[in-house]
């Protein structure tokens, strides 16, 4: 089996982002980048699969600037066998362009399985996995929390609105991985050292201009404290009025 895991670097989720002076992008000054948490879970799934299935190769692929190497090394230290860094400084938001670059690289690898995190925690768009699958012409199973190989097919447990679906797919196929009880491992020092020796292929790529542009970026409104409108049944009338006129939710 060959598994390709697509990973994206995102601003550290523990940090508060600030909007830049252009009001269209985030301030990059001291932003630390991490592997998007869902992608990291996807890498963990791939490595666990590999540990159970000898002969499996796990390849991580990313599209990003040169210093994404650091995030790739983290994936290699977790246990991926090698990495491909599609290097571009294009700060693209266009999922189609990203997916095109990824699928071009992935198709050369001829993987049996392609994994994605369900979404990247920066843009939250959940599009790239689906578009890559379409471009590769392979089935795409989304919101997967666990999967296994059974009789040459992939059996996946997919989380849906109020339950689970058990899906079966021919190989090759692609899965988007949802958070579950599978936590990404903490890399041991030995594996950190080994990661340095692993192959990381750097391939410069040209990303076309985005099909759309960001006009404005805003942070969510600051949460303001709650308001007590009164006590007991007497307050209901005022509450209804506020919900209707101020909050405009009813």
């Amino acid at each position: 089996m060959k598994i390709v895991v697509c990973v994206k670097r995102v601003p550290d989720t523990a940090l508060k982002v600030k909007i830049g002076s252009d009001r269209k992008s985030i301030e990059k000054g001291d932003v630390e980048y991490i592997v998007s948490p869902y992608d990291e879970i996807a890498v963990e799934h791939a490595i666990r699969f590999k540990e159970k299935t000898p002969g499996t190769e796990v390849v991580v692929v990313t599209l990003g600037p040169a210093d994404s190497e650091k995030n790739m090394r983290t994936c290699l230290a977790m246990g991926a066998d090698r990495g491909i860094l599609l290097q571009s400084n294009a700060d693209t938001m266009d999922s189609f362009n990203v997916a095109k670059a990824l699928s071009d690289a992935i198709s050369q690898e001829k993987p049996d399985l392609v994994l994605f995190g369900i979404k990247a925690t920066d843009t939250d768009s959940s599009q790239v996995g689906a578009i890559v699958s379409m471009l590769l012409g392979i089935p795409f199973l989304s919101t997967v929390v666990s999967f296994s190989l059974e009789n040459g097919k992939i059996k996946a447990d997919s989380e849906v609105e109020s339950g689970h679906l058990v899906l079966q797919s021919t190989i090759p196929c692609a899965l988007s991985i949802q958070k579950s009880n599978v936590d990404p491992r903490i890399c041991s020092l030995i594996n950190i050292r080994k990661a340095k020796q692993k192959e990381l292929k750097i391939v410069p790529v040209d990303i076309p201009n985005d099909h759309f542009e960001i006009e404005k970026m805003e942070l969510p409104a600051e949460r303001t404290g709650g308001k007590i409108v009164g006590h007991g049944p007497d307050a209901v009338k005022e509450l209804l009025r506020l919900l209707h006129e101020e909050a405009k939710v009813i």
């Binding site: 090394r73 903490i186 041991s188 030995i190 950190i192 050292r193």
Partner: protein, 408 residues
Amino acid sequence: MQYTFYKIFYFPKTLKIEKEGIMEKELLLPINSLTEEERMLQEMARKFAQTQIKPKVQKMDEESEIAPEIVSELFQLGLMGIEIPEQYGGSGMNFTSNIIAIEEIAAVDPSVAVVADVQNTLVNNAVIRYGTEQQKQKFLPLLASEKIGAYSLSESSSGSDAFGLATQAREESDHFVLNGQKLWVTNGGEADIFLVFATIDKSKGYRGITSFIVEKSMPGFSVGKREKKLGIRASSTCELILEDVCVPKENILGERGKGYKIAIETLNEGRIGIGGQMIGLARGALNHAIAYAKDRKQFGKSISEFQAIQFSLAQMATELEAARLMVYNAARLKDAKMPFIKEAAMAKYFSSIIAEKVASKSIEIFGGYGFTKEYPVEKYYRDAKVGQIYEGTTNMQLMTIAKILLEN
């Protein structure tokens, strides 16, 4: 002390600025810059501390016991054999890596940090440096993978005056017979491998001191009482009792009569580890103080809006920064094989004072809540105190610094 004139080459990397393919400038990076691997180690140790140690800190403190799963994870992650060469099953990193790991762990729990500190900077360090090939092959793989080590120099009547120790080693045909009592042994409760310092001839003074690798299973060896302590309670501090313990001659570490040298040299380095523990501790306390200050409201606003609180935080951060640079500088000097003894003593002296101060101020920022065990800062304060005592008291550090200053 000529080294200040050397080109400073101990930085992990210089920053090369190129213009059209021609090197224009080569800049030195700051003292605390890390190599790629060191950064990954830092991230790993931080994740481990935050996700696995943090939930257990309070319980381990209350029960005065380190959780066994924390110990096994320390081994699993390679944090107990950081500098042990890969051929002996270790991680083969540099000295500074010890400091990085200790700092990250201490930010969450200084007692867990000292367990790893003693293992790495004292025990492993001594065996790597002075062990025979046979000793290295026998003990290093164990120390890297499953066995805790302890370092036993102090006794009830010899602390600062360490070489006034009384534990005796009597030579017999192919072994030594050890008799005596050791005190204050960190990791004593969990260790299997003990570096015990004893004298083979009291009349020779420090020249009689010899270092032995004593295994817990040796008949006559036992671990005595366990101290009840103010701080770093999850780290055991024990008495050792040696009653006619036969130690084969092949377990002498280094040369006979040269144990004093091993003690001095390992402690010179170990001190930087304590510095790492202290700056980690201070950072942990400061971070709690910052978060609390932003959250706590009095007089209708967050207390972080009061300049008095802001200045307090700013001062704490500044002093911590100074201590941190000193600790990292000492560690980098040691890795570069440059003179570091004065800098190590300064780093330990200064960082242990800063740690106590920052932890104390953090309690003040928390107000009454800081004084209770409901909140984490009182523990940092308790844990800080020992930094001024072990691996040489503050006075001993000042003596070392002054001696070097006045030497020439």
